[in-house]
Symmetry: C2
Subunit: 431 residues, 2 copies
């Protein structure tokens, strides 16, 4: 019997009976197995020898009842900017992959409880992209839309829905591009698509809406705080990182506490009192950005001459993610591994070089070891506790404003969006 991929089947085997959607053959599957996607979203492989019975299950197609979203205009108003990603996607059972919706409103139909406390007045979709496909141009488009909404008198705050892969890069970009932020901006995504029981986007959206109505005027990623559907954490856009490929509580604060814990019922507990608060001023848009910047990791045997490559390609700045306190090889047994001559040459030619640490947690410090002092003397700017990702985004933004190395150094060390934390609480480690 020939059954096409995408059809729901029941398979009887010696290990039990399984029901799920027959998946198409991929490189990973061999001829002797079939693959079934179970209703929990996981795939299992079943040996053909072990199949006692395989049959199609008649099933009505699951119809998404797209209710017309009606919001109560007496409730406080927010706006929604939809940019793509898993939160606005569903599984395509023909390919086994995840497929984007085209209508952002479809998501809202799944979350009727939003109407109880908020009025989503505007829905914008400047583009629909998977987040790994975004670049600074898209960051500027999002910033522009958010800026317009924030300066609209009746909008209390903004939610941006977005893929999770690079959500923290976008969060950092918005933190710098929206100057004098006056209202909350919640960035949310989902780690599971909406047709899975473990879909996290609905709760993230509800918590994001509560954040958008809160008093915290910062760009934050608002997503699951634990593996359960209990509460979300709002993490400062410049101090947050995706730390797990699949968990729903993947976004963790780095060198900082979360701004707040937020429960779906609207309960908010402030975890970090050092935050900016809502004001009546106007937010300013500042999206100038130099896209010729790079993020380079060092490691044993790494080739410093990659800096020359970037120099030849017209790059204006590089963020190094060094080891420990911010080190690269400076005194190796073989000269070819020393970064010092290449760094000096690059800086002489006008390239900005900033140092972060690949440990992610903790601060860089050029004064503890000889490598740090040699690098500092060569002109490398040590960026304290900035995440490599945040430093990369900030450098693009800074070099969009000045190409002068001294001005850039000063701007890179200026605290624009609480991206530096002078007093890192030990309890923030691996929070």
């Amino acid at each position: 019997m020939k059954i096409n991929p995408g059809i729901k089947v029941q398979v009887k085997t010696s290990k039990g009976t399984f029901e799920g959607v027959l998946m198409p053959r991929t490189e990973l599957s061999d001829k002797d197995h079939i693959v079934i996607k179970l209703s929990n979203g996981y795939n299992i492989g079943i040996s053909k020898d072990d199949i006692k019975e395989l049959k199609e299950i008649a099933e009505k197609e699951k119809i998404r009842h797209l209710k017309k979203v009606k919001f109560d205009s007496s409730k406080p108003a927010i706006s929604l900017v939809s940019t793509g990603g898993t939160i606005t996607s569903k599984v395509d059972y023909k390919t086994g992959g995840v497929f984007p919706y085209t209508k952002p409103g479809e998501l809202l139909a799944d979350v009727p409880e939003l109407g109880n406390f908020v009025n989503i007045k505007h829905i914008h979709s400047p583009f629909q992209l998977l987040s790994e496909d975004m670049s600074s141009e898209e960051w500027a488009k999002i910033a522009e839309q958010v800026y317009k909404d924030l300066n609209s008198k009746d909008i209390e705050g903004v939610i941006v829905t977005h893929g999770t892969d690079t959500l923290h890069y976008t969060a950092a970009a918005l933190s710098f591009m929206l100057r004098n932020l006056n209202k909350p901006v919640a960035l949310i995504g989902a780690q599971r698509s909406s047709d899975r029981g473990s879909f996290d986007g609905a709760m993230n959206l509800v918590c994001g809406a509560h954040y958008a109505l809160s008093d915290i005027a910062e760009v934050a990623i608002v997503m699951h705080g634990s593996t359960e559907d209990k509460y979300c954490i709002a993490n400062r856009g410049t101090k947050v990182r995706k730390m797990h490929s699949s968990r729903r509580d993947t976004f963790r604060p780095i060198n900082e506490f979360p701004l707040a814990k937020i429960w779906p019922d609207g309960n908010i507990i402030i975890e970090n009192s050092n935050h900016n608060t809502r004001s009546d001023s106007k937010v300013e848009l500042d999206t100038k950005f130099e896209e010729k910047v790079a993020l380079v990791y060092s490691y044993p045997g790494s080739n410093p001459k990659v800096l020359e490559y970037y120099l030849e390609q017209g790059y204006k700045g590089v963020i190094l993610a060094g080891t420990g306190f911010g080190h690269v090889s400076t005194q190796p047994l073989h000269k070819k591994f020393s970064w010092i001559p290449v760094i000096k040459n690059a800086i002489n030619k006008g390239m900005f070089i900033g140092m972060t640490t690949q440990t992610l947690y903790g601060k860089t410090d050029p004064c503890v070891y000889s490598a740090g002092r040699l690098l500092m003397d060569a002109g490398v700017v040590y960026l304290k506790d900035l995440l490599p990702e945040t430093a990369y985004v900030k450098l693009g933004w800074v070099l969009g404003h000045t190409k002068n190395l001294e001005n850039a150094r000063e701007m890179m060390l200026t605290n624009y969006a609480n991206e530096f934390n002078e007093r890192i609480d030990p309890k923030t480690f691996l929070y």
Copy 2:
């Protein structure tokens, strides 16, 4: 009064009286301040205007009583391989930096309790380097020395002392270069130098010696498990990463539990029963290594053509640290950001391309999203839950054995040193 750097001084100011060592001028200090290194190791800057009195304090030079290390030959024997780093360093008060000892035995003089339970029979020092200056050549030298000792009949295990910056890269390298490992290999370092009260090297050395006598025949990093001087954790060499720039409990297991908790009194609690055990077989040395491999992170706006640079430089393989499940941009709005054509070209020209995730925790999976499938179809090999660092080291080792892409793929997916964990316990996240 002119006081030379390196002299212990007492400074009276309006904020109190401070004692410490006067530090030399650096770029960070300005003309209006002096810098004092306090006895706790931290530096403070003091405004010259605020100095009421500054005087030298007569102090006998702290003399290190280098006892002749005598070990009891009736105790079980281990060997020590000293390679440099903070654990065998002290502060140089002339420069303010940390300065390596020349005699590894000096360290042992500080840890007399070792003699109570172990006989350190051999001390080798193939070289003394800061760990950020090491490359695969040094890994091979360490492996060779460890191999000789492990195959010596009366040696129960080996300790390697090493800088912490790249200790996890070396741990991975030894894990692959020492085949059929028969005895324990403990890698230890220190986050504080030996003249600081918080020196962690002594306890790490004691715990490392207990590990070297244990039944666990794996390469492990044995360092502080918490911020207190309570216990160490032994972390599998292929599943561990330096996660903080300065904390003493910086080495954390990734996608895995520690192998064991080890107390300085010799108490060992096995945390991970899935480990290799001591045997009577001989360990084999296999240090073949292709140094033309690179580790490349992707991010929004990253330039895929950096792969062409590595190709032109004769590189044979690249490990990508992608986003999320292992993604790079495949469907961007601007073609220049798409990695697909560059990856296809590189693979056609014989370059191996493996995928890991920059989230560090979790697994890659090419089958969830379209980007993964496009990359897999282009020939990218998905490396499950391998850390980017471990994958980089493994790729150099694998390409030292074969340049055939299919063979390399097979070797990269073979579990040589418990580098893959099929069943990652949720509790290992942010352990």
